[in-house]
């Protein structure tokens, strides 16, 4: 892990919410680094601060204190517009509930981040979106509307949308939370493929059987890092193959 390919670096990150007269310390000093090409899962029980951390990593929220560098750029004291640009150019988001625009084709949903980037021409946008959809295996579903796609397919579209701007890191919050085991494994297999192609991914989950598909796991508890360990990666494709046939309806 050399310094120049550090994608994310947080130091003593704290986030305090003030609710009425009470202070909620969601993050109480978190430090870690994610390097290029890593596939990291962030685990922890409910309320441990996973989403809070991911929102900060995704520049949707700012830390109360502490330092955060993404791709070598400090996020502190950035204006809202600068944060928007960072989100637009450097980050890809995948949400638990897909968040696709209704009545909008898969292709157009995937194009959306590029719409907010004036440097990308109309044609480039289309080509990149098509490429991203091919990458997630939905080449033949480009013109489908979200309501014509299964949950797993919708999440693939969302992943394509997260990849289309060629981000330095893909952030996923409970991306398999709404899916059944088989589809979850399929999505994890897709993430593993992307990882093999060199993508950097941070993946929030509270299911340990999902986390085993990543190469490193950061455990959060009560706003602190409990453990940060590299583990032997299990292949999602093999796990998928090993699923009992009866699960196939």
């Amino acid at each position: 892990m050399s310094a120049q390919n550090s994608i994310i670096k947080v130091e003593n990150l704290k986030r305090t919410f003030v609710v009425g007269s009470e202070e909620v310390h969601a993050l109480k000093g978190v430090s870690f680094e994610i390097c290029q090409g890593e596939f990291v899962s962030i685990m922890g029980s409910s309320g441990s601060g996973k989403s809070t951390l991911l929102n900060i990593l995704g520049c949707l929220d700012q830390p109360t204190s502490g330092e955060y560098l993404i791709d070598g750029i400090s996020v502190r004291e950035r204006t809202k517009n600068e944060l928007s640009d960072i989100r637009n150019r450097k980050i890809g988001f995948v949400f638990q509930s897909y968040n696709l625009l209704p009545r909008t084709s898969a292709l157009e949903n995937v194009e959306l981040p590029l719409v907010y980037n004036p440097d990308v021409s109309h044609r480039e946008r289309r080509e990149k979106a098509q490429h991203a959809l091919e990458l997630v295996g939905l080449k033949d579903r480009m013109e489908h509307m979200p309501n014509q796609l299964s949950g797993g397919q919708q999440q693939r579209v969302a992943i394509a949308r997260a990849l289309v701007n060629d981000p330095v890191i893909v952030l996923a919050d409970e991306a398999t939370g709404n899916l059944d085991t088989r589809t979850s494994y399929e999505i994890m297999s897709l993430f593993q493929n992307l990882h093999e192609q060199g993508k950097t991914i941070a993946f929030v989950t509270h299911e340990s059987d999902i986390a085993v598909f990543t190469s490193r796991t950061i455990f959060l508890r009560d706003g602190h890092i409990l453990r940060d360990e590299s583990v032997a990666t299990k292949s999602a494709a093999e796990a998928l193959a090993a699923l009992p046939k009866e699960n196939d309806y």
């Binding site: 995704g58 949707l60 928007s84 989100r87 968040n99 625009l101 907010y116 004036p118 701007n165």
Partner: protein, 406 residues
């Protein structure tokens, strides 16, 4: 974020909910249609009044008897006998800016031709009367000064009377018909003129020498009116002044005394009429503008609902890099597109509506381009205003909360 992109994003968002888009446009459509229709119809009404007033005569000047006060008691003008044929002769001789003069005496009467009868109005005038009042002879001839001298029992009849007293295809020329007890010979028929702005049939008349009406029908030596033609529109005012000074001298009205007559030009009557139709139009436009305002409130209302309903979409757009300004612009553009499309539809509808109505009311179809521009511009402005607060609300959405919103 370039403008084309913005329009594309907004148009797509609008297309996603066509019914709502159409419904929110409705208010603007109706408002603009009403404004355009009312303005065009008002304009048409004004023009038709102007046309009909100019149909009344060529640079027409009318001299009427005025109400007079005697010892504080006002007398109705019908009792006033101030105008005489002599006055006409003086005007004809001395007023340089007046080209044609005719006295007017009129009398209602029962017109009878064999078994057919019809009640019409008989107008007595000089041979110039027809030209002053812009009546044209369809068949036959006009009466002459000689007829005036001899109180000749001759007359020209309008098309309404031709239709009511004669059979189809029957030639009225040379026929003797009666008005009251007096028989007279029809020497001519008049071309059709239609209704005037008050809805009066201008073809329901008999024109005779004034002397015949005065002596043989009414037995009076005064006249009701004098009609004149000014040499041109430009000298109408000068002509009025000439007539006034001639009549004041002839009627021996002292300096500072009240006139026993009243002179009106066509222009003045036109102004009177157009100020009346103008007032009506103004009131109607005001009502139409209120409906336009209601339409705008409708758009604002729906935009607010839209913003709340699309919280999640806004959150998503922000999370993938849309700036607050981009969100603001998107919703503003949506509202402007809404009101502009609504405005264009309303415009077309208003044009169609005013066309149909003017067809029905046989008004000239006038398109007021200025108001079309005003309507279009105000649509854009109204869209901007009614979209602004909802758009501001949208742009202030917190993406983290918005993404969690169900």
């Amino acid at each position: 974020m370039d403008i084309l992109n913005l329009i594309r994003i907004s148009a797509k968002a609008l297309m996603r909910n066509k019914t709502r888009t159409a419904l929110s446009m409705l208010g603007i459509v109706i408002g603009i249609a009403a404004v355009i229709a009312v303005v065009n119809l008002g304009e048409g009404l004004k023009q038709s009044t102007a046309n009909q007033l100019s149909d009344m005569g060529t640079n027409l000047i009318m001299v009427m008897r005025a109400n007079q006060r005697r010892g504080g008691v006002s007398m109705g003008s019908s009792n006033v006998q101030s105008l005489k044929v002599h006055d006409c002769e003086l005007i004809a001789k001395n007023a340089k800016n007046v080209t044609l003069v005719s006295p007017v005496v009129n009398s209602g009467g029962q017109l009878v031709n064999g078994s057919k009868n019809w009640s019409g109005t008989v107008y007595g005038g000089s041979p110039d009367y027809l030209e002053i009042r812009k009546y044209e002879i369809a068949t036959g001839v006009n009466f002459t000064d000689d007829d005036v001298k001899k109180y000749a029992k001759v007359g020209l009849i309008g098309q309404t009377i031709v239709e009511n007293l004669f059979d189809d295809g029957e030639d009225p020329i040379g026929k003797i018909i009666r008005v009251g007890n007096m028989p007279f010979k029809v020497i001519g028929t008049l071309k059709e003129k239609g209704q005037n702005s008050m809805g009066m049939d201008q073809d329901d008349l008999v024109v005779m020498p004034y002397s015949t009406v005065q002596k043989r029908m009414l037995g009076q030596d005064f006249i009701q009116q004098i009609v004149c033609s000014a040499a041109s529109e430009n000298v109408a005012e000068a002509a009025v002044e000439e007539i006034e000074s001639i009549l004041r001298a002839s009627h021996k009205i002292p300096e500072g005394g009240d006139d026993d007559f009243e002179v009106r030009t066509q222009q003045e009557m036109l102004e009177m009429m157009s100020s009346m139709t103008g007032m009506i139009t103004t009131v109607l436009v005001a009502i139409a503008l209120i409906s336009l305002l209601v339409g705008c409130i409708g758009i604002m209302n729906i935009m607010y609902v839209t913003v709340t309903e699309r919280t999640k979409e806004i959150g998503l757009r922000m999370s993938i890099g849309a700036k607050n300004s981009a969100i603001l612009m998107q919703f503003l553009t949506e509202s402007i597109i809404l009101s502009l499309i609504g405005g264009v539809i309303g415009l077309l509808l208003g044009l169609l509506l005013s066309y149909v109505v003017s067809l029905f009311m046989s008004l000239p179809y006038v398109v007021n381009v200025m108001w079309m521009v005003i309507a279009f511009v105000s649509c854009a402005v109204l869209g901007l205003i009614s979209g602004f607060f909802p758009a501001l609300k949208a742009s202030r959405t917190d993406p983290i909360n918005a993404l969690r919103y169900e």
